[in-house]
């Protein structure tokens, strides 16, 4: 079920303390396809880490492993120095990890407020777990007003919302619930300018509070440079670059991605020759 703490893993404390999340040598295959070939990285307390990589580089797979949706084939994951192994999304959640998925994980037929509380329902009367719909509606209204998310009504079904609104609800759900680590898999992909701004501000607010550490996947370098403290590049199932945002630039990163692409292309051509 929950994390299985193991006898003190050897962990040289970094200058800024134990990382909130450390991943060592994580691998994952799907059939013959080796998606992750040994991922190593650390997420420091209060940090926003951006993951960059081509389509199919393994970013989403990594996120789904950290969120407990997939089990890794190999490697170790540590949360605040404790080795953990999740076998369910619930187990990851009970360790304070919340995730916004690329496909949003909203239920079209449920109203906004129930989507906002999906998996965190407020219930009464103990084991029967009756929904406290009034309380959830009230809190949902308050929260969405606070963060300036505009929906027709908290009773509107998710299917009635625009793509951007749906995304805002999905992000808001996880931001609200995250206690330790927030994973964002392309949180801005379906959003207009106004909604993107809203989500960026929401994530920056959460980051500046320092209580939650964040991993973001995004294809938009401008967003990443605004949001993140540090960027890691995933290529071919491994982390190939680890840079502080202030030590690099959009141009440098773009150049790096392009040259990596050229190298791969050359490898493919050589293999074919």
């Amino acid at each position: 079920m929950s994390a299985s703490p193991q006898p003190a893993a050897p962990m040289p404390p970094a200058a800024d303390g134990v990382p909130v999340l450390e991943v060592r040598g994580v691998t994952k295959r799907f059939g013959a396809l080796s998606v992750l070939r040994g991922i190593d990285f650390a997420l420091r307390q209060g940090e926003v880490l951006g993951l960059v990589g081509d389509n199919g580089a393994g970013k989403s797979t990594l996120v789904k492993i950290l969120s407990g949706f997939h089990a890794p084939d190999g490697g170790e994951i540590f949360i605040e120095g404790q080795r953990v192994s999740f076998n369910s999304v619930e187990a990851a959640r009970s360790n304070g990890i919340e995730t916004v998925y690329q496909d949003l994980a909203l239920i079209p037929q449920l109203p906004v407020y129930q989507n906002l509380f999906l998996g965190h329902e407020i219930t009464r009367l103990g084991p029967i777990r009756f929904l406290d719909k009034g309380e959830m509606r009230k809190l949902a209204r308050q929260y969405l007003d606070d963060i300036n998310v505009n929906v027709p009504s908290v009773d509107a079904e998710a299917v009635d919302l625009s793509g951007g609104q749906r995304q805002a609800i999905a992000v808001a759900r996880s931001v609200r619930a995250a206690t330790k680590i927030l994973l964002l898999d392309e949180p801005l992909s379906a959003m207009g300018a106004r909604e993107s701004r809203l989500i960026i501000d929401l994530v920056k607010d959460l980051a500046s509070s320092g209580r939650v550490s964040i991993i973001v996947i995004d294809h938009n370098y401008a967003h990443l440079f605004e949001l993140c403290d540090r960027l890691n590049v995933i290529d071919g199932g491994r982390i190939t670059l680890d840079q502080q945002v202030h030590e690099t630039s959009i141009e440098e990163l773009t150049e790096l991605m392009v040259s990596s692409y050229r190298r791969q292309l050359a490898e493919v051509q050589n293999a074919g020759a």
């Binding site: 239920i107 219930t123 777990r129 969405l144 929906v151 027709p152």
Partner: protein, 350 residues
């Protein structure tokens, strides 16, 4: 749920945050209510049918004999449909629930004949059908066999078990049946007791589906399977439990029904029941695509079929014609549902 004042679904960009209320005519408000509260339409149709038969046939239709015949038809169908609807909301189906309804009293009967005290015999029968539901569910979620196939097979297996174990002989007498004690009357002998059991179960299941966390998980699993799993809903466990609940409820009503009629016929085939039950769910506004459906709707659908069956008999239409009417009603209900969905979609894109 959506009976709150209609709200603008368009132009989210405009205006200050918060909800905007449009002045909407009463006609559109009524239409909206019918669009979103799918069980309203079958309720209105049931009332209209009832009124029609009452006017045509007077006390021949509204008399106790006629009405108890209507609920005699509707009770078993509703008892199966209210559990079935949970599976339809999950985008699954249980074709064995009708046979479970027939099988459960046989288990009670066999146990009791072997000297097991009646209460214990009933408990064992209910555990047995719950196990049948669990097997249906586990085969479906663990072996990835479509539930249509799993439960179709289970239907034949249970039918065969009854034929073999009963030696093709009727089961009689059923314990409690024909008795005058309170417990006999309560467990099915009184002509209204079966429908009261079904009404009580309808209320319990309706509250479960619309007011509990488990209910949200059912809708979430049926509405977006992957999304629900990603949001932490244990989708497989939810499905298995719903198969168990469907079997349990069908079996319980089956026991009451057997006490009501007093004999068990091994030749009864569950598919006859399940098709009416699925029809009742459809009439009650359940989409077979998952995520939508109500327990009350399924119950109303069964009542509608009962009123139709009894009313046609009373006004002298041949029983054979009944099947044609059932077919027409089901097609009409489904077509109406689809059209309602289109209307909703159109109002959205405006």
């Amino acid at each position: 749920m959506s009976t709150d004042a209609p709200t603008s679904t368009a132009a989210p960009e405009a205006g200050p945050p918060g909800r905007q209320r449009d002045p909407v005519s009463i006609g559109r408000r009524v239409l909206r209510t019918f669009l979103y509260q799918r069980e309203l339409t079958p309720i209105v149709i049931t009332i209209a049918l009832f009124a029609y038969f009452a006017i045509r046939a007077g006390s021949n239709f509204t008399g106790t004999l006629s009405l108890s015949s209507a609920v005699g038809f509707a009770g078993p169908v509703a008892g199966i449909a209210i559990g079935e609807v949970l599976l339809l909301v999950l985008a699954e189906i249980d074709l064995s629930a009708g046979q479970v309804f027939l099988f459960c009293p046989w288990v009670m009967y066999w146990m009791h004949n072997d000297g097991v005290p009646l209460v214990l015999a009933i408990v064992i029968a209910l555990i047995a059908v719950s196990a049948v539901g669990a097997i249906n569910g586990l085969i479906t979620v663990r072996l990835n066999v479509p539930s249509f196939v799993t439960t179709l097979a289970m239907n034949f297996i249970l039918y065969g078990v009854v034929l073999v174990a009963s030696n093709n002989l009727q089961g009689s007498p059923i314990p409690l049946s024909g008795g005058t004690s309170f417990i006999s009357q309560f467990m099915g002998v009184w002509k209204w007791s079966e429908i009261l059991w079904v009404i009580a179960l309808t209320i319990i299941l309706a509250v479960m589906l619309s007011r509990t966390r488990f209910g949200v998980r059912i809708v979430a699993t049926g509405g977006n399977l992957v999304g629900a799993a990603e949001a932490g809903v244990p989708t497989r466990r939810v499905k298995v439990w719903c198969f168990v609940i469907c079997s349990f409820v069908a079996g319980l009503v089956g026991i009451v029904d057997s006490i009501k009629y007093g004999t068990l016929d091994p030749g009864n085939f569950g598919v006859d029941y399940i098709l009416y039950a699925v029809g009742a769910c459809v009439i009650g506004g359940t989409a077979l695509t998952g995520g939508r459906g109500t327990v009350v709707g399924a119950f109303i659908g069964a009542i509608l079929l009962g009123v139709l069956q009894d009313g046609l008999t009373v006004i002298g239409v041949s029983t054979n014609d009944f099947f044609i009417y059932v077919g027409l009603v089901i097609i009409f209900a489904m077509a109406l549902n689809v059209q309602f969905d289109r209307l909703i979609a159109r109002s959205r894109s405006r």
